[in-house]
């Protein structure tokens, strides 16, 4: 095939991008070269729309060993231990083929983590679906959950936490974000930067097939009615091979044979070889005839673009080939020396003794286009004045029941029962809590992780929304007694070529950055997923934040289970009763307008650190952050988890009870303390200028509030736990 502008456009390149390629090369590329450019220059690999703004993220901190730019971020957790972690999207493939899309998403992120020498110790996920009534939702949910479970369960890494939401904006574009945490000795971290000339380049893992060709380009474009035709671009996962690859890589990593290692993820052999060469400022020469292929007569074009899973590219020290081969033979994996590093600073590919590609590495990486796209600022919406008579006909009991059975609040056990969350024998907080917690094996330390997003807040006002999610992540970690250390972010947005969507992105990133900086909670890794759009309809802006924190002594971990009758429950933080953008306003009052709750970073930090202080002083019995649904939903969940009740105090002041119970003001926690500790807690909170209210005290069986609420916990448990199961069974 002759390469021309049309062929380039069919490969997802823009006219001027094609011209730039010809100008750089000073000739017309051949088809393989064009494909390599298209793979490296698409949005997914090049970050061409986002790069300018990602630079503003707060990425530094005392405990950061590796920030963004590597396979995953790395943080120091004391002694010689470090945690490697990252979140990544697999949205487009999961919509086309939910099982394989989700499964390979999990596989990909685990490879990113063990590529750095870390053994994965926990998985998390953030998954978002269209309206429950939409005809595709149920099957997509079922397929995605099965796919995540199918992969993670087989590898034997526990899935310890997650988030699931439903919103009609995901009808045509579901979101599947997978996160993995791994443990590594901080002196034995492996990076992707190649070094040294004439070092053997090794291919290990599965054979290369024709699956996933153009996967990265597919993930860089909007969907249309021909979406079914894109099925072949979805990769097929083989968790068994990944398990072998994991064990083999970790075995080889035990000594110093490896110079650099990179997994073959999006854009497969192309992006892995280019990244290694680019970071090492050297060239790579490959003989594509040496690449182990699954199918016959694969062309250089197909070999370079295949996204077959479970493959790694390694630059080895000279003389270590035999030793490495032995390990991969033991694990029944392919091992092939396919090339070497060179000083040419070019990617040079040979096939059937002919040179089929000759491109300077810089053209693919550093010279990739960067766009400063136009974006629109989004103003803070005006407050809504809710009229008194709107509340008149409402009963708190009914509102509470409606919210507890709402798809975005209800119990998600149907999902996490299908994930092995206890394998590896260190899960001390299972899914369903504020954060999942796993112990660092054989030590007194534990690591907590949570994943959050708030698309409604981000949609109403991206700047506030961006800040809010970081704060929520921070609170979820503190609620289990963990010191928040760092985050990873998965930025899911619509079409960046539209000013509104681009504005959502820019301002969410700005919000995330401000909050991270203030809370000293840096971003160490992440990815961007644009073009979540089908037939001109984009998703609500949905950045997912994966937070990681450390518990020094796991025996001090806190859960949200109420402990003892007679204990007092306090609300930490001030309750104003902000209802706009709350689930109450939306579902009960049918009001979708107004600003999201204000984020006050000073209060957020001060309240959080003070709660952590109380936890460390061992005077908190249980703790839960207040988020979606406000105080009443938060305390209900605590009651349901522990099968205990609460007697709620009369309200002080003029606040409307609906505002009080359902408002979604930020920076708040519910904490349970013993009566005898009240004075001590009061003193500590006042010393630290933290506002608190007494919510009530723990009783048996019921949730009670004057003569207005008397609900048995059994009853609300049924309400809370039945929606999802019923939905999936029918």
């Amino acid at each position: 095939m002759t390469v021309n502008e049309k062929v380039a456009i069919d490969h997802g390149l823009k006219k001027d991008e094609y011209k730039k390629i010809c100008d750089l090369l000073k000739r017309t590329p051949n088809l393989t070269e064009l494909a390599i450019f298209s793979a490296m220059w698409n949005e997914h690999c090049s970050y061409k729309s986002s790069r300018k703004h990602l630079k503003n993220l707060h990425t530094k901190g005392k405990k950061v060993i590796q920030g963004p730019g590597e396979n995953a971020g790395v943080i120091d957790i004391g002694d010689d231990d470090a945690i490697v972690f990252k979140i990544e999207s697999h949205n487009h493939p999961s919509f086309i083929e939910p099982y394989q899309g989700a499964a390979t998403g999990v596989g990909g992120i685990m490879r990113d983590v063990f590529t750095m020498g870390a053994r994965p110790i926990a998985n998390l996920n953030s998954i978002h679906f269209g309206s429950p009534q939409h005809k595709k939702t149920k099957n997509l949910l079922r397929g995605v959950v099965k796919g995540i479970g199918g992969y993670g369960n087989c590898i034997g890494v526990p899935t310890i936490a997650g988030q699931t939401s439903f919103d009609e904006s995901y009808n045509g574009n579901i979101l599947v974000n997978a996160m993995t945490l791994g443990l590594v000795n901080k002196k034995k971290i492996f990076y992707s930067k190649a070094a040294g000339i004439n070092k053997p380049v090794i291919y290990v893992g599965s054979k290369t097939g024709r699956d996933g060709i153009h996967g990265a380009s597919m993930a860089s474009a909007v969907f249309d009615e021909k979406i079914e035709e894109k099925k072949p671009t979805v990769q097929v996962g083989d968790p068994f091979t990944e398990k072998l690859l994991l064990e083999a890589c970790l075995e080889l990593m035990a000594d110093d044979s490896i110079i650099s290692i990179q997994d073959m993820g999006a854009a497969g052999l192309t992006s892995s070889s280019v990244e290694m060469a680019s970071k090492g400022k050297l060239g790579i020469e490959l003989n594509l005839n040496m690449v182990p292929c699954r199918e016959e007569k694969m062309s250089p074009y197909e070999i370079m673009l295949s996204e077959s899973q479970e493959r790694m590219l390694i630059v080895l020290e000279n003389g270590k080939e035999e030793k490495a081969k032995k390990i991969f033979d033991k694990w029944d994996l392919d091992f092939a020396i396919i090339g070497k590093t060179t000083k040419s600073k070019k990617i040079e590919l040979y096939f059937d003794d002919k040179k089929v590609c000759d491109i300077p590495v810089d053209f693919l990486a550093e010279n990739a286009p960067v766009y400063d796209r136009k974006w629109k600022k989004i103003k803070l919406p005006q407050n809504i004045k809710f009229k008194k008579q709107e509340f008149k006909s409402l009963k708190i009991e009914n509102c509470l029941k409606k919210l507890l059975s709402h798809p975005n609040i209800c119990d998600k056990q149907w999902i996490w029962d299908q994930y092995d969350h206890t394998v590896m024998g260190d899960t001390i907080q299972k899914p369903g809590g504020d954060s999942g917690v796993v112990r660092i094996h054989g030590t007194s330390k534990a690591v907590a992780a949570s994943v959050d997003s708030s698309a409604l807040y981000c949609f109403a006002h991206p700047l506030s929304g961006g800040k809010q999610i970081v704060c929520e992540s921070w609170r979820n970690l503190i609620s289990v007694g963990a010191e928040p250390i760092a985050i990873t972010n998965c930025l899911n947005f619509g079409n960046p070529e539209k000013e509104k969507n681009m504005g959502e992105f820019v301002e969410c990133v700005q919000g995330i950055s401000e909050a991270c900086k203030y809370l000293d909670f840096p971003v160490v890794s992440g990815n961007v997923s644009f073009y979540n759009e089908t037939k001109d309809k984009g998703i609500k802006p949905t950045p997912s934040i994966g937070g990681v924190g450390i518990i020094k002594d796991y025996k001090n971990m806190i859960s949200m289970n109420l402990k003892n009758k007679g204990n007092i429950v306090l609300v930490i933080g001030k309750t104003i009763g902000h209802l706009e953008q709350s689930i109450f306003a939306r579902e009960i009052l049918s009001e979708k307008k107004g600003p999201p709750p204000e984020v006050n970073l000073f209060n957020e930090k001060n309240n959080g650190l003070t709660v952590l202080k109380l936890i460390n002083e061992k005077i908190i019995e249980s703790c839960h952050d207040v988020s979606l649904g406000g105080i009443i939903v938060a305390i209900s969940k605590m009651c349901i988890k522990s099968k205990k009740g609460i007697k709620l105090n009369q309200l002080k002041g003029l606040i409307n009870k609906f505002n009080y119970f359902f408002g979604e003001d930020q920076a708040r926690y519910l904490i349970e303390i013993r009566k005898e500790n009240l004075n001590k807690v009061d003193k500590l909170l006042k010393e630290n200028s933290v506002h608190y209210d007494e919510l009530g005290y723990v009783i048996d069986d019921n949730i009670e509030f004057s003569d207005e609420i008397k609900l048995s916990v059994d009853e609300i448990e049924k309400t809370y736990k039945s929606w999802l199961r019923k939905y999936m069974v029918n």
Partner: protein, 228 residues
């Protein structure tokens, strides 16, 4: 007491089992599936996981692996062989235990705590356990035990059923059956009572910070019985 845990490619509860055995005083050795000899052992454990990917029938390839002949020989001379989860599936594939483990009735993977009622204590595994009901943990996709009527009769007549799924109070019925297993069967023994296969994972229940502690009872008791 010496134990050995077999590692098949795709095993993923091998380390957990190693940790548990050592915690309660076994001297444990890990054995690779391609070895042909077993080290001298008082107990052989086939751990959970997805041996060889379990892409065929669960446990079928492991049931024909190199090391498995030594395991079969060991069992036939009266040696103790314990198969947990995938290990149970492998034992049925070798013929050391009758029946088969089908896909869970709800066609979903299930990971949760369950209760089991010990049926027969006349064996090294459960002898002297001072509890009738244990809280253990399951995590499997194929735990739905099934066998022919004749096999079931034989299992029952010889007291080979080790444990039944039940509720907290010991009731065995459909509601306390997590996966559709025939008669709520959670684990079975061979006729000679030296081979035990069960779906629940005692190794995941060995300290109070985990899902529970009843797994500790199982291991402590097993070690004590072996010492006699």
């Amino acid at each position: 007491m010496k134990s050995s845990v077999i590692i098949f490619p795709g095993s993923n509860c091998d380390r957990d089992m190693d940790v548990a055995l050592k915690k309660f005083g076994f001297k444990n050795t890990m054995v690779w599936h391609n070895d042909d000899k077993l080290p001298k052992s008082d107990l052989i454990v086939l751990p959970g996981g997805f041996s060889y990917g379990d892409y065929l029938r669960c446990g079928s390839i492991a049931g024909k692996s190199k090391i498995i002949n030594s395991v079969i020989d060991f069992a036939k001379t009266g040696g103790l062989v314990l198969g947990i989860c995938n290990g149970f599936q492998i034992l049925t594939e070798t013929g050391l235990l009758p029946g088969v483990l089908l896909q869970n009735k709800n066609i979903e993977f299930i990971c949760k705590n369950v209760f089991v009622k010990i049926n027969d204590k006349n064996n090294k595994y459960f002898n002297k356990i001072n509890k009738e009901i244990l809280e253990l943990h399951i995590a499997h996709n194929e735990g739905n035990y099934f066998c022919s009527d004749d096999e079931l009769r034989e299992l029952e007549n010889n007291n080979q059923i080790a444990a039944y799924y039940c509720d907290e109070k010991g009731n065995c019925d459909d509601r306390s059956n997590p996966n559709g297993a025939l008669k709520n069967i959670a684990g079975i023994l061979n006729k000679e009572k030296n081979v035990l296969g069960m779906m629940p994972h005692p190794e995941r229940m060995i300290d109070k910070y985990l899902s529970g502690e009843d797994g500790s009872i199982f291991f402590k008791n097993l070690l004590n019985n072996l010492k006699i």
